[in-house]
């Protein structure tokens, strides 16, 4: 079609991000919501890598490493919470998680 520029990547990133947002807002299964969050983080990563490529500066990629580290931490703790929650409530439906204690 035409030459692929950073804008293309950015649009892709925005689209992926929005899909993630929709996933977070619409799904009720908390595990899928977590995955949608991962999608959003990936959208951010694409953006960072694309700009690192454009600017020929690896700092963007450094930040991707940190994002991945944070994602790993988030997944570990989040899934731990889900497990603990499931053990008590037998559900992963976020609509049933509307009280702070039970």
């Amino acid at each position: 079609m035409m030459e692929i520029t950073t804008v293309h990547y950015t649009v892709l990133s925005a689209a992926l991000f929005s899909i993630g947002v929709i996933g977070v807002l619409v799904r009720r299964n908390i595990i899928i919501i977590f995955m949608a969050i991962e999608l959003m983080l990936n959208a951010v990563n694409i953006n960072l890598v694309a700009h690192a490529h454009r600017l020929e500066n690896l700092v963007g990629e450094v930040f991707v490493v940190f994002v991945i580290a944070v994602a790993a931490a988030e997944a570990a703790v989040g899934l731990g919470i889900i497990l603990a929650f499931f053990r008590n409530k037998e559900t992963v439906n976020i609509d049933e998680m509307n009280v702070m204690r039970w």
Binding site: V21, V24, L25, I33, I94, D95, M97, N98, V99
Partner: protein
């Protein structure tokens, strides 16, 4: 001498070994072995270092292990200064003497403890040695530290260990409380100390003792003004007061006797409590520049000495007597520093370490023999059962009472002499205290070792043979089957004997000129107390006014007389007329009436001295309880009263407002409550709405071209 950093590190390694591995894996023998070996090692090192120091030309040696705090720019009075703290250790005459005391007495007490604590369960035993080693590590850090901050590490560390060891039997509520009390009271002092350190850095831009001293020596002496030096010294002195149990922060020390006896001997008699004295001596130059504070120090010292001595007169708990005696002796040391006799203070510190450690260990031996009985009224006649303990404790008592030629005589006399030169009133009080010291110490000896055995009876009371036999195999746990008082094992009597020798001869390093000596220790220590510049330029100018030797000897004779008088009195009351003293002790509440009605023969004594002192002691005790506590209670009452007022205010004014707000919120929240669904995603939608708004604003701004 470059290895002096090993001196504190060795016990530290021992503590780490025992603490990390030992509590789980080591047997009692191994734990005690490690603790004693590390202490022994650092004792050897100390002796080597000291010998080298004696031979060295320049009697000061600094070893820096590297940076602790790298240079940080910090504001001082002279612009930015580099706040830099190395791990530096300084060996000079003062710290050299101190490390000998700490490692020497520490080592003996480690040995003693390995027998004394043998009835502990294994875990507790190892824990004890871990703490004890840790204490030595911190104490040696404190002593050897070459800057205020390194010293502060040790300072806080010994406080921590003191807390841990006082509360060693933490399941006993009184012990745990005593530990807490010691810790909290010490914090008050430490607060002053740390403020002083801040101010020192702010003023001088350095924390090194030597540099601070040099800088301070350049400042004018604050005779009339209360300047920055005085403030620093006052703050430091507050720290010393806390650590060394002086008025008004002495209250923790008697309670600290809840800890195991070796701990009392090591920490609360020989080493840690003298840290305050050491610190003041360390900063002699600073204090010398602030005469007002010197006076304060001397006054506080002598008042503490007197007060503690009077209290000591009436105690029946053997360890309490020694505790008050310690407070009293510390007061002496402060008196000495206060009158500028830093060397005398250090000298007394050393001799005191010997005889007080000895006394404590002896009392521990007695307590051990009496199946953990501490009340002197339930002892008596112990010299039959435990001859070694008796002899060694007797030596200790003679030493503390100031009977020549035992060590206490020389050091105490030096203090009295210098005080006499400085201030006659203080001297009078000090001499009085000396008399009382002699009295209560011998009261202790007489009550414990002389007279009839007054303790509980034991299983098969068939005479001394059995009790003597028992000493050999008491390791099988006499807590379960106590066979009466007996001599302690050799691991306990050994240190006693060594210390007794020390108590006898330690004084000879400081025989005053009046008695034909040359006061070696004073000359040895002197460099540590003056600024280097002063030491060179004013060589010999540091002379104090002298009395003639005859007058000096007269003073000595007087103080010996006073001591003898105290001893005689004690002998009279507790050996010749034990029933009287017993009555006196049992009818404690009505002491006055008992005294006037029953002691016809000793009427004169009673009317003048005994009753007076007893009454005075009681009065002071009452003051302690009524006035001090009353003030506290009054504060409490005032708090309650003001609380009531504020309660009323609170109830009608504040609560009214709060309720109003609450009411408004409650009513208003009907509207907002709808949004509070507990659905996380709805909140996320709200956040998204925020994003939407921002992006829209941005977009509009772009299009409009703002």
């Amino acid at each position: 001498m470059d290895l002096i950093w090993l001196i504190p590190v060795l016990p530290g390694v021992g503590a780490a070994l025992n603490g990390i591995l030992g509590v789980r894996y080591f047997s009692k023998t191994v734990a005690a072995g490690i603790a004693c070996a590390t202490m022994g090692g650092s004792l050897l090192l100390s002796v080597f270092a000291f010998v080298q120091l004696l031979g060295a030309e320049h009697r000061e040696h600094v070893v820096s292990l590297g940076d602790w705090i790298p240079p940080i720019p910090l504001q001082t009075v002279n612009g930015l200064g580099a706040f830099e703290v190395p791990w530096a250790f300084r060996l000079d005459p003062l710290s050299g003497m101190m490390i000998l005391i700490v490692t020497g007495i520490g080592f003996l007490i480690h040995l003693y403890s390995s027998a004394y604590m043998s009835h502990e369960p294994r875990g507790g035993y190892v824990r004890f040695f871990c703490y004890l080693n840790l204490f030595c590590f911190f104490m040696l850090t404190l002593v050897l530290g070459s800057t205020f901050l390194v010293m502060f590490v040790g300072w806080e560390g010994v406080g921590l260990c003191s807390y841990l060891l006082i509360g060693f039997w933490y399941h006993k509520k009184s012990a745990a409380d005593a530990g807490k009390k010691a810790f909290v009271v010490n914090r008050v002092g430490d607060f002053g100390f740390v403020l002083g350190v801040f101010l020192i850095f702010f003023t001088f831009g350095t924390l090194d003792f030597r540099e601070v001293a040099e800088a301070a020596a350049q400042l004018p002496v604050e005779t009339a003004t209360f300047g920055v030096l005085s403030t620093i010294c006052l703050l430091l002195f507050i720290g010393a007061v806390g650590k060394s149990a002086q008025i008004p922060l002495y209250v923790w020390l008697p309670d600290a006797m809840e800890g195991p006896t070796p701990v009392s001997a090591l920490i609360h008699a020989a080493t840690m409590v003298t840290a305050g004295v050491y610190m003041v001596g360390r900063n002699a130059v600073l204090f010398s520049q602030a005469p007002m504070i010197m006076t304060t120090v001397a006054t506080v010292g002598v008042v503490t000495a007197l007060l503690a001595a009077t209290i000591g007169l009436v105690q029946t708990d053997i360890k309490k007597v020694l505790a008050y005696s310690t407070v009293s002796q510390l007061g002496y040391m402060f008196l000495a520093t206060g009158v500028g006799a830093f060397a005398a203070a250090a000298f007394h510190l050393m001799t005191h370490a010997f005889f007080k450690a000895l006394l404590f260990l002896g009392s521990g031996s007695v307590i051990h023999a009496m199946n953990d009985e501490q009340d002197m009224q339930k002892m008596g006649g112990m010299k039959l059962y435990m001859p070694v303990t008796f002899v060694t404790m007797f030596v200790g008592s003679v030493a503390i009472a100031g009977v020549p030629p035992f060590s206490g005589f020389f050091s105490k006399d030096e203090i009295l002499y210098r005080t006499f030169l400085d201030n006659k009133l203080l001297w009078g009080l000090a001499v009085l205290t000396a008399g009382m010291t002699a009295f209560y110490m011998f009261r202790l000896i007489f009550m414990t070792f002389f007279g009839e055995y007054r303790g509980p009876s034991w299983g098969s009371q068939n005479g001394d043979d059995h009790a003597a036999d028992d000493g050999g195999h008491h390791d099988d746990g006499h807590a379960h089957a106590w066979h009466g008082p007996h001599e302690s094992p050799s691991l306990m009597t050994g240190p006693l004997m060594v210390l007794a020798v020390g108590a006898c001869v330690a004084g000879f390093v400081g025989i005053p000129a009046a008695l034909g000596g040359d006061n070696a220790i004073e000359h040895f220590l002197e460099p540590a107390f003056v600024a280097e510049s002063a030491a060179h330029s004013e060589e010999g100018a540091h002379e104090v006014a002298h009395l003639s030797h005859a007058a000096e000897i007269g003073l000595m004779a007087f103080s010996v007389l006073i001591a003898a008088f105290g001893i005689a009195l004690a002998y009279h009351l507790y050996v010749r007329r034990p029933e009287r003293s017993k009555e006196l002790a049992t009818n404690w509440a009505g002491a006055h009436r008992v005294l006037t009605n029953k002691y016809y023969v000793d009427e004169a004594y009673n009317a003048t001295l005994v009753k007076g002192t007893m009454g005075g002691a009681r009065g002071l005790w009452t003051v302690d309880r009524k006035v001090v506590d009353g003030a506290v209670n009054g504060t409490g009452w005032f708090t309650r009263a003001s609380a009531w007022v504020s309660h009323v205010l609170d109830k009608y004014v504040v609560d009214g407002l709060v309720n109003l707000v609450g009411w408004v919120c409650a009513e208003g929240s009907y509207i907002f409550r709808r949004g509070q669904t507990g659905l996380i995603q709805n909140y996320a939608v709200a956040a998204l709405f925020g994003v939407f708004t921002f992006v829209t604003v941005y977009l509009v701004a772009r299009f409009v071209g703002l």
